[in-house]
């Protein structure tokens, strides 16, 4: 990647963070947070995006961000009240901004009509604001509460008096005073007075010396930093004095004026900054000097600022960006270390050392240490679920608008951490479930009113760690599952027999069946051909489980339980025809030892097993994987009852169970290729490779094999 592209990529990464902060801030304000720092954080986020976009000439993004920024500036200056309607507009503007960022990232055309509409709305919010570059670099203006704060920055409508006297060095460095003045003119209306008093008569004139000075009255409500920025390149090569217009006339009004200030009408800018910073206790914020030179340099203003600065710094935290590949390599290495340690332990035990021997005890310590290292390394990949949770408020807003149901989203446990890959693959199922919760779960406002509930529905999204797994719940306070209707639909679609008696839980679980959708008319939101069966499959592919609990009239709760990482897996170690294999425990419902009478042949090679009077297909793993030609005689081996895709049950037959173990997942594809029926490989304590079964494929293949055989027979007959 060339350097510019890399910087661009970093910019977009940071944009994502800024957008998240922007939305979080707006949501907090919607909840009633009036902390100026929140408003400021939102302003900063928009401003940073605009600034970065400027560097990459992303015009559409800059234009929109600018209007947005202007509106935020109005709000933080107190001219725009953060009413719910205003915040709704701002939230939608944040959505548009996010879209524009993404469009810019992917190089897609942006939705100009939508952003234009919001530009108008935003402009309507801040009709008085100057649509110039006025708010541009307005970093230093921390004036949120004009009431009762007379000591703060210059009042609106005032300007700055700038005394500018270039030294010879300025010209020597090929700078030009006229350009500086022209630049100042861009900030607002300027009145320039030339002081040519120092100009000698022609014979005495040194062509390389500087004799001219200017006094500029700038009538524009801009921050001092904006003014100072104009002088950025000539700083140090001129005498410069910038003070508010109102204060300029009475420079000594305050006795507490810092010495540097009072010392002379002209002074060195750097000295001023240094002096002001020392007044403020050496605070790190570069914004500080901006407001202090206003007529009242009383220390209270900077002090308020210094309190805020550490808080912001703490929120940012000390983090580094690390290439994901490096982390993965480290995780791989630690995986090898764990395997090596297990092998070493096994060898030591085989060598006949006593458990209490020094060697064995040393090994125990090593084991603890490796485990700790493994946990810590896994924690590097772990990320808070916040990154996926924070996409949901926007979704809720959109779905709520489409369905016309007012919805409140409550999220809890955003800080719960889980592996990055899990997070990435969680977004789709979660999106779908939230959509479902609003579209199907919540009743219409009228129905809610009739049921005595508040018109606004609530969707609760929570995450928590529970016994080594992450549990994510999506709960709504809607009407709950209409079991009679669910059952009727299931019967109608032929999913269950009409006379089947099902428990409430079993009825609820019917919604996970493929091809099930309860909305009588296909709606725009949920009816996209994906049902809860897809959600369930994606959760299962992550090694997770999903269940539903529903109470009529009170709502439904979907609970997902997921492994914290995809690098290790809880497995059941089994033997099949002399081979050691690992079956993922998440798929296994129960294990049983079939009696000879339980196993029945069912045409051809197919066999079924009777489990509590239900016949379930029995698949011999040894046969399915080709380890042996004949299946185990009935009554031998152990059957693992598993629940595959779509809730279909099957039993797989293995020779024996060796035990349960957490295994490190190793790719078989990297050096070899995909093997049907095998998901991946792992390395056991004895250092040998064991294959991890892909149970869904084994079940599907054994079914498919039967049907192909039948087709072949048909073809042969025809």
């Amino acid at each position: 990647m060339d350097p510019l592209a890399a910087i661009r990529e970093t910019f977009f990464q940071e944009c994502e963070e800024q957008l998240a902060e922007l939305e979080a801030g707006l949501l907090a304000m919607e909840e009633g947070d009036t902390d100026p720092e929140t408003i400021n954080a939102v302003f900063r986020a928009v401003h940073s995006i605009k600034g970065g976009a400027g560097a990459f000439s992303l015009e559409a993004l800059i234009r929109f961000a600018h209007v947005f920024e202007t509106a935020m500036d109005e709000m933080r200056s107190g001219r725009l009240a953060p009413s719910p309607d205003v915040l709704k507009t701002l939230l939608r503007a944040a959505d548009v901004l996010a879209d524009l960022v993404r469009a810019a990232h992917d190089g897609d055309p942006s939705d100009d009509a939508r952003s234009a509409a919001l530009v108008d709305e935003l402009k309507a919010l801040s009709p008085d604001a100057e649509d110039g570059e006025g708010g541009e670099e307005d970093w230093g203006d921390f004036e949120f509460t004009p009431v009762g704060a007379p000591d703060a920055a210059a009042p609106a409508g005032s300007g700055w008096r700038i005394a500018f006297k270039p030294r010879a060095d300025l010209y020597a460095k090929a700078n030009e005073a006229a350009l500086v003045l022209r630049e100042l003119g861009r900030l607002g209306e300027i009145t320039v007075t030339l002081d040519a008093g120092a100009l000698p008569l022609l014979p005495d004139l040194d062509p390389e010396a500087a004799y001219l000075a200017w006094t500029i009255d700038l009538a524009a409500d801009v921050a001092e930093t904006a003014v100072r920025e104009v002088f950025e390149y000539v700083d140090g090569d001129c005498e410069l004095d910038i003070r508010p217009l109102a204060a300029a006339g009475e420079p000594d009004s305050s006795e507490a004026t810092p010495e540097a200030f009072a010392a002379a009408p002209t002074f060195d800018v750097a000295a001023l900054i240094a002096s002001v910073q020392s007044t403020a206790g050496g605070a790190a914020s570069p914004d500080l000097p901006a407001q202090s030179p206003s007529a009242d340099p009383s220390p209270t203003t900077p002090a308020r600022k210094t309190e805020q600065a550490p808080a912001a710094a703490a929120a940012a935290g000390a983090t580094i960006r690390v290439d994901l590949e490096r982390v993965d390599r480290l995780i791989d290495l630690v995986g090898e270390l764990v395997i090596n340690q297990a092998m070493l332990s096994q060898r030591v035990m085989e060598a006949g050392f006593a458990r209490a021997s020094n060697v064995a005890m040393g090994l125990d310590e090593l084991e603890q240490l490796t485990r700790e290292i493994q946990d810590s390394v896994m924690a590097i990949r772990a990320q808070p679920v916040k990154s996926v949770f924070q996409r949901m408020p926007r979704l809720v807003r959109e779905v709520a608008a489409m369905t016309g149901k007012p919805v409140r989203l409550i999220t809890e446990g955003e800080g719960t951490e889980v592996d990055k890959t899990v997070i990435e693959r969680l977004a789709d199922p979660l999106t779908h479930m939230i959509r479902n919760a609003i579209d199907h779960g919540l009743e219409s406002p009228e129905a809610r009113a009739a049921a005595g509930k508040s018109a606004e529905g609530t969707v609760r999204l929570t995450a928590a760690h529970r016994s080594g797994r992450i549990v994510i719940e999506v709960a709504d306070d809607g009407g709950g599952i209409n079991r009679a209707r669910v059952k009727a639909i299931a019967v109608e679609r032929g999913l269950i027999a009409a006379e089947a008696t099902l428990s409430d839980e079993e009825v609820d679980s019917l919604i996970f069946m493929p091809g099930f959708s309860t909305a009588s008319e296909v709606s725009d939101i949920s009816g996209r051909g994906v049902g809860m069966d897809v959600v369930r499959r994606s959760i299962q592919s992550l090694g997770g489980r999903i269940s539903i609990a529903s109470r009529p009239g009170l709502g439904s709760t979907f609970t997902m339980s997921l492994p914290l990482t995809l690098a290790v897996l809880d497995g059941m170690v089994v033997s099949v025809a002399g081979q050691t294999l690992v079956a993922p425990i998440t798929a296994i419902v129960e294990t049983l030892q079939p009696k000879p009478g339980d196993v029945h042949g069912l045409g051809g090679d197919a066999r079924v097993i009777a489990i509590r009077d239900t016949y379930t297909p029995l698949i011999d793993v040894g046969l399915a994987l080709g380890y042996r030609a004949e299946s185990l005689p009935a009554g031998q081996g152990v059957a693992l009852l598993i629940e595959g895709e779509g809730g279909a049950r099957a039993a797989i037959l293995v020779d024996a169970i060796q035990g349960q173990r957490q295994v490190v997942i190793k790719s078989l594809e990297a050096n070899y290729g995909q093997v049907p029926g095998v998901a991946a490989a792992t390395i056991l304590g004895d250092g040998r490779v064991a294959l991890i079964l892909d149970i869904d494929t084994i079940v599907a293949v054994s079914r498919g094999a039967d049907s192909t055989r039948a087709e072949k027979r048909k073809a042969a007959a025809g």
Partner: protein, 154 residues
């Protein structure tokens, strides 16, 4: 595709080994390491010449029985057998051979083109022949050793 060691004088280094009493060689730059035989875990639905997979310091390494791959009768693997760990493209593969015999430094002009023979194996794998001290050594190309690679090439 196999990287070539440039030895002064345009020569390159080859590693030679025995499979079923015949001698073969591969470019030494493709060889990562040589190790003793360890029992492999069988992989279902694999071609007959894939012995299975072994653990190579945490990576899963497929073992190709070169005798079977080259059309000989596959030998019963024992401790005397050797695994040549070779890099083929992005993949690392173990080649089961009877023994490693020599390291040869040869120039390209010593390598004779493969004579036209009917054998598919010869045409698929043998890239040339070397006559060294009266022995005939076949230079083989590793590109088509693994079935998946073969599929990709097709």
């Amino acid at each position: 595709m196999t990287p070539t060691q440039t030895v002064p004088g345009g020569a390159r280094e080859l590693i030679s080994f025995r499979v079923n009493a015949q001698e073969f060689c591969v470019d030494i730059m493709a060889v990562r390491e040589i190790r003793g035989w360890t029992a492999a875990t069988a992989v279902p639905q694999s071609p007959a010449f894939v012995r299975g997979v072994i653990n190579l310091r945490g990576a899963v390494l497929p073992i190709v029985d070169l005798a079977a791959r080259l059309g000989f009768e596959s030998a019963e693997a024992s401790d005397r057998h050797v695994i040549i760990v070779a890099q083929i493209g992005a993949q690392t593969v173990g080649l089961l051979v009877d023994a490693v015999s020599d390291i040869l430094t040869v120039t390209d002009d010593v390598i004779q083109p493969t004579p036209d023979v009917a054998s598919d194996t010869a045409r698929t794998f043998v890239r040339g022949l070397l006559a060294i001290e009266g022995r005939m050594i076949s230079l083989i190309s590793l590109d088509r050793v693994l079935p998946s690679l073969e599929l990709e090439a097709a």
